[in-house]
């Protein structure tokens, strides 16, 4: 177990890799009442193939998410019941590259952790259970279909990418979930839920050594590697530059997405990209205030940088009364900054702001654990951020402006259907 001191906040985090391959990360927060634990599997909606004797074959969209729902079913009832009887709160989620299970407890932490480490290893999948869950999942998918921001985002990814599986809905479609069987879920569980493909993150006033011992008991043996994600050949160009979605809305949505033509996993570059996006579109930018003054945006407007294996996107947008004028204003603002460059003083202020936000994370165990897990499962180290933020130069941030090329962009508009 390696202890790493975070001198800024006077805290330590502890890292180990067990013989089984499971990675265990602990952050000790003295005097916190709550222990927050997150068990993550590097298996998400992007993992669209399962290994076979001959190689691999495709699986229906939404399989990882379906498995997450069904894994709570156990032989002796529902895995939720055990957490509930221990007084813990618990949940799970699936995104593009991970499935994660979590609990938060102020007592019986050890029993909760045992349960978390155990139930995910014991699938109890029946055809009847799968059929019943399908009804619940279909309701969930329909709920997302009624959310304009979800539809806009989905349409944007489908426009930016030709074949990268990030373009698929995380939960799949009603048609794809209809193809998912208990047998398939079991097959995916055995392929992906392997200790070498998982990580445990625990945040709270805990004994890191005891956490590691517990994890080692629950995962004694290595099972072999999980399938590696191979990004498909993805053209650098966008698939289509504009998409319109008609649905029941009272306010249209405009989002502009930029596709990174050379996506690489590099935290320093990602950090520079985020700073660039914040410099241009953040609420303390000229452009934000100008668009706000014109009544084209409100508090929900913003930009985000979204990266993962084989893809990188910067997206900016929000609800607006006038998508055409907002789009025009955005392009003008981008052109202006690309022509004049970024103000180094502004980059310096945003650097300080990001450093403050990083240290503020240590008061929010959930947000900290999620950021930690999301980055660690992609081979990145959250705790490098303060040093990186110090080291990044205004020139590096400015260089990321190259990403904002209209040739690499797609526009997604959601409007009220007539």
């Amino acid at each position: 177990m390696i202890e790493q001191r975070l001198s800024g906040v006077g805290l330590s985090h502890f890292e180990s890799e067990l013989p089984s391959g499971l990675k265990v990360s602990t952050l000790v927060l003295p005097d916190f009442a709550k222990t927050y634990a997150l068990l993550g599997v590097r298996y998400g909606s992007m993992d669209t193939r399962v290994p076979t004797a001959q190689g691999s074959r495709p699986i229906p969209a939404g399989t990882a998410h379906f498995l997450e729902h069904r894994l709570f079913e156990s032989e002796d009832g529902n895995a939720m019941d055990r957490f509930a009887s221990l007084g813990a709160s618990y949940n799970a989620f699936t995104d593009y590259f991970q499935t994660a299970y979590l609990f938060s407890a102020t007592s019986e932490e050890e029993a909760c952790l045992d349960h978390l480490l155990t139930f995910v290893q014991r699938p109890h999948l029946t055809d009847a259970g799968v059929a019943k869950e399908r009804g619940i999942i279909v309701q969930e998918l329909r709920m997302y279909q009624d959310m304009p921001e979800h539809r806009s985002w989905q349409a944007l990814l489908e426009s930016l990418f030709h074949s990268h599986p990030v373009r698929q809905e995380i939960g799949g479609s009603e048609a794809s979930v209809a193809e998912i069987s208990a047998e398939l879920l079991l097959e995916c569980h055995s392929a992906f839920y392997r200790p070498s493909n998982m990580r445990l993150v625990v945040v709270g006033d805990v004994d890191p050594g005891a956490v590691v011992d517990q994890a080692a008991r629950a995962f004694p043996d290595a099972v072999g590697p999980a399938p590696r994600f191979e990004p498909p050949a993805e053209p650098t160009a966008v698939r289509q530059s504009r998409v319109e979605t008609d649905m029941a809305v009272s306010l249209p949505i405009l989002e502009v997405g930029f596709k990174d033509p050379e996506p690489v996993s590099d935290l320093r570059r990602d950090t520079a990209t985020s700073l660039m996006a914040e410099a241009l579109f953040g609420e303390s930018s000229d452009l934000y205030l100008e668009l706000y003054r014109q009544g084209l945006i409100s508090d929900g407007f913003g930009a985000q940088s979204f990266t993962g294996p084989g893809f990188g996107v910067v997206a900016v947008g929000g609800e607006t009364v006038d998508p055409e004028r907002l789009e025009e204003g955005l392009w003008q603002g981008i052109e202006r900054v690309v022509a004049n460059g970024l103000d180094p003083d502004r980059v310096e202020r945003l650097r300080r702001r990001e450093i403050g936000q990083f240290w503020g994370l240590f008061d929010r165990p959930e947000a900290l654990a999620h950021a930690w897990m999301g980055m660690a499962l992609q081979g990145q180290d959250l705790f490098q951020l303060p040093d990186l933020l110090q080291a990044i130069t205004a020139a590096e941030v400015t260089a990321r402006l190259a990403l904002l090329s209209s040739a690499q962009s797609a526009v997604s508009v959601v409007r009220h259907h007539p």
């Binding site: 303390s284 205030l289 609800e319 403050g356």
Partner: protein, 446 residues
């Protein structure tokens, strides 16, 4: 599953933020009646201060809600929003936010400052940040008509467009429509930002008038947490706010008894896939009564957790919904059940929901279900000490009721609460309004 989206959440509804607690909560009253709630301690790495002013919902709701929104745009000393925000970024991302919320028929306005603690940062920021906070509060940017006309107009338009955009969030929209139907003629039917019509007739003069009312004697609470020296904080607040007029003695008034009538049904057709069923119940109980805790337990048993009756029966057993949950507003005497369902099964879902409310009233829930609810609530209450904004929010509510913040007492009461008390808590519950939104259904679909 929660896919990332570039659309940030809507305007914060209540004061929230971050800071610390290893010490216990201190309460103090300035000579003019301003209340201080201080939560000192070193466990946290953030520090915050929030001024909350209590007014009433009514014809001025929109003007009142505009006050904090306009204040954070700039002060007479830092008039340009761009400069103010640059200052905040420079202070390691200090946040200065204005918000409005509802508590029963009270209208709460919040002005909140949050920073990282000085002991964590390479250089101190708190005093400079506090100066900005005090500045926007006490030195607003004025012109001849009252508040700065440009900022008032921009904030008015921003809030109007957010109100117009509520329909984009079907879950929120359905709940608001149910409240509108249930509370016709009662200002509680408004959002914390008023109505579109109110906003249309609100300008710099109205906002200035609302600001003056706030200074002239409305109840004010200042809540702070983090690396705080309590004595220094009291002195600082005396200096900043000691000159304000004496605060009105405006104790909590229980909500008026709601009229009994036949169940109101409202149906709305929209092009949506998932149906939204929202049911409003008159609780017949309110926050100032000793049954308060039992009501919260009864509600939690009904629909706050995955082991609660609604989730179990509507979602897990009948597969009729993705979500089915309940919440109470004890300051209004209101219980709301909301769910996202297959519209073809509306009748079935409604019946199952009504049966669960009945189950609590009749006591046909199991001892285990009650025990799980009790433990979950005890866990939440214990975890609250990790979130200063939650402690201070809870303390504010208790203070309004004239009671001390005593989480240990509440833990003990939770441990002892009986099934009879939980049953009795819902004994006066009556269904008032049912709101249902769905796509147009073809004949034979029902």
């Amino acid at each position: 599953m929660n896919p990332p989206s570039p659309l940030h959440p809507r305007r914060a509804v209540a004061a929230s933020g971050a800071s610390l607690t290893t010490g216990s909560l201190l309460a103090h009253r300035l000579a003019n009646g301003i209340r201080l709630l201080i939560l000192p301690g070193l466990k946290f790495r953030r520090r915050s201060i929030t001024l909350t002013c209590r007014l009433r919902l009514g014809t001025e709701t929109a003007a009142q809600a505009l006050v904090p929104a306009v204040l954070v745009r700039g002060s007479s000393r830092v008039p340009e929003t761009l400069h103010l925000r640059a200052r905040l970024d420079d202070l390691y991302g200090a946040s200065l936010t204005g918000a409005a919320s509802k508590l029963g028929n009270a209208h709460l306005l919040h002005l909140r400052l949050g920073t990282v603690s000085d002991r964590v940062l390479p250089e101190p920021v708190w005093e400079s940040a506090l100066e900005l906070w005090a500045d926007v509060l006490r030195q607003p940017l004025l012109d001849q008509d009252g508040f700065h006309a440009g900022y008032v107009e921009e904030e008015r338009r921003s809030i109007s467009s957010e109100l117009a955009g509520i329909f984009n969030n079907k879950t929120e929209y359905a709940q608001i429509r149910m409240l509108e139907a249930m509370f016709q003629g009662d200002p509680y039917s408004q959002t914390a930002y008023g109505t579109v019509a109110q906003l249309e007739s609100t300008g710099p003069k109205e906002v200035a008038r609302a600001y003056a009312a706030l200074l002239a004697g409305a109840p004010i609470t200042i809540a702070t947490s983090g690396d705080v020296d309590p004595e220094q904080t009291v002195r600082q607040m005396e200096n900043l706010f000691g000159d304000l007029a004496l605060r009105a003695d405006d104790p909590y008034r229980p909500p008026a008894e709601m009229a009994t009538h036949a169940v109101r049904e409202v149906e709305e057709r929209q092009a949506v896939d998932q149906g939204k069923l929202v049911m409003g119940y008159r609780l017949g109980r309110h926050a100032a009564q000793p049954e308060r805790l039992a009501v919260r337990v009864a509600n939690a048993l009904l629909g706050r957790y995955p082991h609660s009756l609604l989730f179990r029966h509507v979602r897990e057993e009948a597969s009729l919904a993705y979500y089915a949950a309940s919440q109470v507003d004890l300051f209004k005497g209101l219980l709301v059940v909301h769910s996202g369902i297959d519209p073809r099964h509306r009748q079935g879902a409604q019946e199952i929901i009504e049966r669960q409310v009945e189950a609590i009233r009749e006591g046909t829930f199991s001892d285990e279900e009650l025990e799980l609810t009790r433990r979950a609530m005890q866990n939440e209450l214990a975890a609250q000490t990790d979130r200063p904004e939650a402690v201070l929010g809870h303390a504010y509510d208790m203070d309004l009721l004239g009671e001390p913040y005593a989480p240990e007492r509440e833990q003990a009461a939770l441990a002892e609460i009986s099934r009879q008390e939980v049953q009795a808590a819902f004994s006066r519950v009556q269904l008032d309004t049912v709101y249902f939104m769905s796509r147009p259904l073809a004949e034979g679909e029902l």
